[in-house]
Subunit: 477 residues, 2 copies
Amino acid sequence: MSLMSNLSTSMISSSSSAFLAPTSFNSSRSQSVSVPVKSIKICKCVATPQEQQQTGLKMVLCGLFVCFEAYKTKVSRNSNIAKLQAGYLFPEVARRRAAHLLKYPNAQVISLGIGDTTEPIPDVITSAMAKRSQALSTLEGYSGYGAEQGEKALRVALASTFYSNLGIEEDDIFVSDGAKCDISRLQVVFGSNVTMAVQDPSYPAYVDSSVIMGQTGQFQKDVEKYANIEYMRCTPENGFFPDLSTVARTDIIFFCSPNNPTGAAATREQLTRLVQFAKDNGSIIVYDSAYAIYMSDDNPRSIFEIPGAKEVAIETASFSKYAGFTGVRLGWTIVPKQLLFSDGFPVAKDFNRIVCTCFNGASNIAQAGGLACLSPEGLEAMQEVIGFYKENTKIIVETFNSLGFKVYGGKNAPYVWVHFPGRNSWDVFSEILEKTHIVTTPGSGFGPGGEGFIRVSAFGHRENVLEACRRFKQLYN
Amino acid sequence: MSLMSNLSTSMISSSSSAFLAPTSFNSSRSQSVSVPVKSIKICKCVATPQEQQQTGLKMVLCGLFVCFEAYKTKVSRNSNIAKLQAGYLFPEVARRRAAHLLKYPNAQVISLGIGDTTEPIPDVITSAMAKRSQALSTLEGYSGYGAEQGEKALRVALASTFYSNLGIEEDDIFVSDGAKCDISRLQVVFGSNVTMAVQDPSYPAYVDSSVIMGQTGQFQKDVEKYANIEYMRCTPENGFFPDLSTVARTDIIFFCSPNNPTGAAATREQLTRLVQFAKDNGSIIVYDSAYAIYMSDDNPRSIFEIPGAKEVAIETASFSKYAGFTGVRLGWTIVPKQLLFSDGFPVAKDFNRIVCTCFNGASNIAQAGGLACLSPEGLEAMQEVIGFYKENTKIIVETFNSLGFKVYGGKNAPYVWVHFPGRNSWDVFSEILEKTHIVTTPGSGFGPGGEGFIRVSAFGHRENVLEACRRFKQLYN
């Protein structure tokens, strides 16, 4: 019995067992576990039928071997999810960072990789969340289920703070637990029978969620692309704005500006062309403006600054990079009433249905924080932290410039896009990690158009950014 | 120009315009707006081509009329979402409540409908959340992106508090923003090519999310069911446990115990049969245990108390009804490593991929609250609030019993399932609302098997529950 349990545990935890043919247990969890014939006796004498059932292992005699087969359901794995390549990019970066730390337990690793905020949230905002938390223990302050679309006061404040004079009303705004989550909810709204385009490179959630929903074909290794996705190449040569004359019509166009990872912000003229392109094609733009607050140029902060955009565009946004809410979780999405499917049905009505059925609103405490962000003191405090990250960006840009690299982004986004012409991004990522203990993000993780680049995030404590730049200089001088 | 804007606004806000043929603007947003021919002159003299483009209205001459057509994209509406009937149940109940308040602005409406918690959260829990909120403004206390699967300390505490000795490990547990959200994420994992069964009646999110993912056929009005869903009828006659000998094999079996809405809790023997049924069929059970803490009987609190369940079951759970977290948003889902698709691939790996790609973890503040819930003081405080709601339940049960109704549930769940034989649930709902200003939930909203019942929720302040019971007695005595 104890041996049998041992066997079962080994398989489950993917850890090796010193006792029973360890090598056969190191294989993936998804494999059946084969035990060489010499183990038969051991197994036979410890396993009773009842135990077999409980551990889920079935003994099967096959030729010279006794195989222990785990119980499998008869439910087929979702073939769309099976198309996904490796892990989602950022957990994969985190995995390599963890492996590096195992190799160099004493390394002073600096993370300029995942784009995670590092500076404390201004007190005016955290105090509002603390107050709301505490109030939940009182009769007057308690609140249960809120509106799935978000608290009215927050929706009103978002409309007046970011979309004043743009014709976006409070009820066009859906408050959420973050832009990434909303992107997936939008994909659920669109379903599997739509085609989509993305900037290449771009934030990987667009492509991955499209694959998951079944909008794409298989991954094509030779071109590093999924079939049935239109990759709109964005390069230094085209100023990181796609040549729309070569872009095929798709139902959905994901467009991120300021762009993650290139840092490029589209101009008013470019966005006007994009909106016209969508209108001519009857496409819907999903415009990701998560970094709009980092813009230094006089480019549009919202797609809705472009006339006519309300009929062809959705906009997602987030407090994550505005107020350090990456852990608090709060974002919003705008689906204008004017946006209609081909049969005239408003997209907002279906999005609302999905929000009500698949989601239950953002945390009321986080929403109190969001409201505080939009107070005059909150806005000022937010801008201060953003100014700090923008100084980081400048330091990183100057460092790579001084080393002779071609550097893009940085001016309108907290990301610096560094060119390593002719080199493999993951190789550069590994070289930097191995030699400087700095985590970056390989450009190819954002699509084939990112090959030869790395993304350096400007989120970090000042001393870490300065130390990272010293190490970059040592490595590449 | 101003007239054209006026026209546009009228259409957008669905409000009526006194100026331009008001009746034509009162139609659904999704309709094209038709303006009678007498309006031609007005429109012609105010609209320039550019303005037409901006407002999205196109003038089309068709026979005797000039029609203003709203711009439509060429993106087809998701045909699965189009299958959904009316709104999601609870927003529909809320809509009727709001309409009632418009009709009776001074009515003292009591809500025993939506199942929303009403009592303050114990201070030991809110203090932990306030502390975590405030700490986010400090260098030491700040945290950004957390693990998508939840903070390790919380996962460890969940495993030891609720699944001790059941073989559920910390890494089998995924912390989330709530069970409803996890149900949808699970559906995304399963995809469109699975079949599913539900208890009838049951919590509507199972069926609705199945429809959205394309697992079902059209709604069949004659039987009030979607095609391709197996409805497992649960009635007083079968003790609210389905006759499995008549249930067709499906890939997925949603099973909620204690059940929402009937309040019935399955016994150990029943759950053993259910697990065996799943095993024989190679099905996956999605076991919703959101109300387990309300159980008075000695029935299993977790499906994993049943031997072998780890190979065929997933369990969702939530802090919503445990700790009044309906607004704070925190839940968890267990996907055991032992649960495998037919090709041997672990379901947990795909769920993890969806959690990482479509979600970014629950709010760190909510997680601090969850951890406090599981401290000895937190558990004790939680039980006290739950005891209070259970007293409410008893009062409601006794009231309906005294009125001669057949009443089910109440003992193991905060819901009382009251039988009105031969009557239409929505009629009973309306009668109660109209005559007593009490909001309940119509049984048929949970499936055709709920017809003839209403669900009365025991969440409420004591004085409201007592007052509601007085009104029930007035109405039905």
